[in-house]
Amino acid sequence: MSLPAGLSRAPHGGRARYGRETLHAEWTKLRTLASTGWLLLCATAVTVAVSAAADAAATCPSRGCQADPAKLALTGVQAGQAIVAVIAVLAVSGEYSTGMIRVTLTAMPRRLTVLAAKAALSTGLVLVAGAVAVLACVLAGRLILPGHGFIPAHGYPPPFLALSHGPVLRAACGSVLYLALIALLSLGIATAVREPAVAIGLVLGLLYLFPVVTSVIGNQHWQRHLEQIGPMTAGLYVQATVNLRRLPLTPWEGLGVLALWAAGALIAGALIFRFRDA
């Protein structure tokens, strides 16, 4: 039995065009959902607000307080990532909730292409929102922190929190990449479990589990290892700009651990998506 033309094979124009059309279709879906814009705005606002509140609550009363101004100014990423995770989860699970996924897969039977298009678009949106949020966080840090004792006399020489300073640039770019990787991790998990509530619970449970557990564990050997393998704890090493030698991993290695988690989740999600009945 032969399938009607165009269903199993790419339409005229070949792979590239098929990919472009899938991307376009996914973009239309994402763009026309009111929730996407709101959630992106919300993620940016929460990140900046929590960072500014952390800046305002921080103090450096004397020399040698060793606080990491970059990490402090980017505290909000730890809260904003929850909303980023929701954006990515909804990009996939939203279709399952409404049954739209059957239409999508009928129109575009190449499932991996669909998944890749969804991943590319949500990552792109998160990169843009993340960049805006991180820039605002750095700006807020530069404005607020000097008023709370982060001054040259206490060991914070100018240029304070300048993006031209290598470690600060790494912390800023790394935080944007961190948010993008969180989106990919969430997308992978959401593709595997389909139900949005379960996916969000799993992603946030996985992220927040490690920092909470390592804060209480008394055994330093275990503490170190758990920090190294936790997607959030390791990934946020990229925000460190002082005392780098005390970190269990280098900043980029830490982000690499998160990338491994994201890759693992995406591969698992893709395999299940490819072979499971929608």
Binding site: A57, T75, V212, I217, R246
Partner: protein, 534 residues
């Protein structure tokens, strides 16, 4: 004339009580396998994390330093033995001070004048104290004590450097007397009298006009007690969390006080004063402490504290408490919230809500029935999770010889039942939020952002305490205060911080915040459910 009998169905009229509604909702809940699995996952995750904490707890004998950067944080010294003293009330106490004493046989009194209190302390530089520093709770005064044994009963009148004159007894009790600091120009007169089991404390600014500060009954006080002058100075504790790593500064301090006009009544069989550095196991510095007497003038230097030990991370007591076994509560909470949200949103997703509301048109009652069913299920799951975590983890920690803060049973019960109540209330809160927003993803997001993230942000070091302090007062996460492991003592300076289990609000006040949020959310949900088209 014929009468027409209207048709009546022979079927029995269906009952329409609240019990039927509850039963319907209960049936819905039980028959969805995923939801029941979700609750089981909540139990397993909570208990599993408790086991992990207990398994990785450091045995008392190998614990020496933890996160302290300025000087080591003291822990138990002897391996496998309880290395902390217990006070008369059974609580762990610190009983370290310099004691210039004589036995007092039978009833009697002692009166002194304190003319100065100065301090020495700061970061330890090569084991030496450097700089001058007076911690607010350094104490100098007179004490009547049941021997010099660790944790024995006592009552004391003292001048403190930052909190005026106090009368303290049996480690946990504290009453204020005259305010203001001690100096040569404004000395403080102190008096303790013993009459049977009753010790009465008096203070005075001039030695003629006396005020009674308090009277306490120390049950079982022997006829001969040790009485005399004492000086002590607690460790300087601070926790700076804005650093990349949690940084606990915990260093010893010393205080020196000058006493004169020592007068006594009653029978004092010994001729001379004895100087004793009363201290427990693993004492830090005893260099510097001591006394000397010139005519009637005593100069006494002491270090330590006579106070309850504060447990938990970054404090002097054992750093594992029952609360740490319940660390997984937040993860269990996420699982329960997912189930509670879907318990409502699944109705909208499948269109079942129309059937539900057709069968029971009084919508408020539907919401109430759902809240009761999910609340009860979550309470049972929470109770199983908390009790399981505490029982299993206590057993493991005990076998590993970890030093764990002993909890009196009412506190342990409050922590376990409170955790179950927190999970149940959180489930009802989630249900109400899910009714309002009707989408599980949004509901879960709202619940996690308000209930879980403030707790998570408070856990690891690196977040300014000011931020989490504020969040843990106003968000539903305030209810985590139910897990506070021990009272917060006004008269003991310690790191009362969330990683040690101390939240900004008192346990039941914190729970009341979650209750208030739940009531508000339920009211909004009930209103919207009635007004909105399903």
């Amino acid at each position: 004339m014929t009468t027409v009998t209207p048709y009546r169905s022979t079927a029995q009229e269906a009952r329409d009580g609240f019990a039927q509604l509850l039963r319907a909702e209960w049936t819905k809940f039980c028959t969805v396998r995923g939801w029941v699995i979700g609750l089981i996952v909540a139990i397993l995750v909570t208990a599993g994390l408790g086991v992990l904490v207990a398994k990785t707890a450091v045995p008392a004998c190998s614990a020496q330093t933890s996160t302290g950067q300025h000087g080591p944080v003291r822990h138990g010294a002897a391996c496998g033995q309880p290395s902390y003293a217990q006070g008369p009330g059974g609580e762990l106490v610190q009983d370290q001070f310099y004691f210039v004493r004589q036995p007092l046989a039978g009833d009697g009194s002692i009166t002194v004048r304190v003319t100065s209190l100065t301090g020495l302390g700061r970061e330890e530089i090569n084991g030496q104290l450097a700089g001058s520093l007076l911690v607010p709770w350094s104490k100098a005064g007179i004490i009547v004590k049941d021997g010099t044994g660790q944790g024995s009963a006592y009552a004391a009148m003292m001048a403190t450097s930052g909190h005026g004159v106090r009368m303290q007894w049996n480690y946990t009790q504290d009453t204020p007397g005259l305010a203001g600091a001690v100096s040569g120009a404004s000395p403080r007169w102190l008096r303790l009298t013993r009459d049977g089991d009753t010790i009465t404390g008096y203070d005075s600014a001039d030695g003629t006009h006396w005020t009674r500060v308090g009277a306490v009954a120390l049950a079982g006080l022997p006829s001969t007690v040790q009485a005399g002058l004492f000086v002590t100075s607690p460790r300087l504790m601070s926790y700076s969390s804005s650093l990349g790593v949690g940084n606990v500064s915990n260093s010893p301090t010393e205080s020196t006080a000058v006493f004169d006009h020592v007068s006594r009544t009653g029978t004092w069989p010994a001729r001379a004063w004895t100087g004793d550095n009363v201290s427990g196991v693993g004492t830090m510095n005893d260099q510097g402490v001591g006394y000397h007497q010139v005519a009637g003038r005593f100069t006494v230097t002491g270090s330590g504290d006579i106070a309850p030990l504060i447990a938990g991370a970054a404090n002097d007591g054992p750093n594992i408490t029952v609360r740490d076994y319940l660390l997984g509560t937040f993860a269990g909470l996420i699982a329960v919230a997912v189930v509670a949200a879907m318990f409502m949103t699944a109705e909208y997703r499948r269109g079942l809500i129309r059937t539900t509301l057709a069968a029971s048109p009084r919508r408020g009652r539907v919401l109430a029935a759902k809240a009761i069913v999910i609340g009860a299920a979550a309470f049972v799951a929470g109770l199983a999770a908390a009790a399981g975590a505490v029982l299993i983890a206590t057993d493991i920690a005990h076998r590993n010889g970890a030093s764990v803060y002993p909890e009196p049973w009412p506190t342990e019960l409050r922590i376990i039942a409170g955790t179950a109540a927190l999970i149940a209330l959180a489930a009802i809160f989630t249900l109400a939020v899910a009714t309002i927003v009707r989408r599980s993803a949004t509901a879960i997001l709202i619940v996690i952002v308000t209930l879980v993230i403030p707790f998570v942000l408070s856990a690891p070091p690196g977040i300014p305490v000011g931020l989490t302090d504020w969040l843990l007062r106003i968000t539903p996460a305030a209810a985590f205060a139910l897990q506070q492991p021990a009272p917060q003592y006004y008269q003991v300076q310690a790191n009362y911080i969330p990683p040690a289990g101390y939240f900004p609000l008192a346990p039941w006040t914190g729970f009341a915040v979650l209750c208030a949020w739940t009531v508000i959310a339920l009211a909004a949900a009930g209103y919207l459910l009635r007004r909105r088209d399903a």
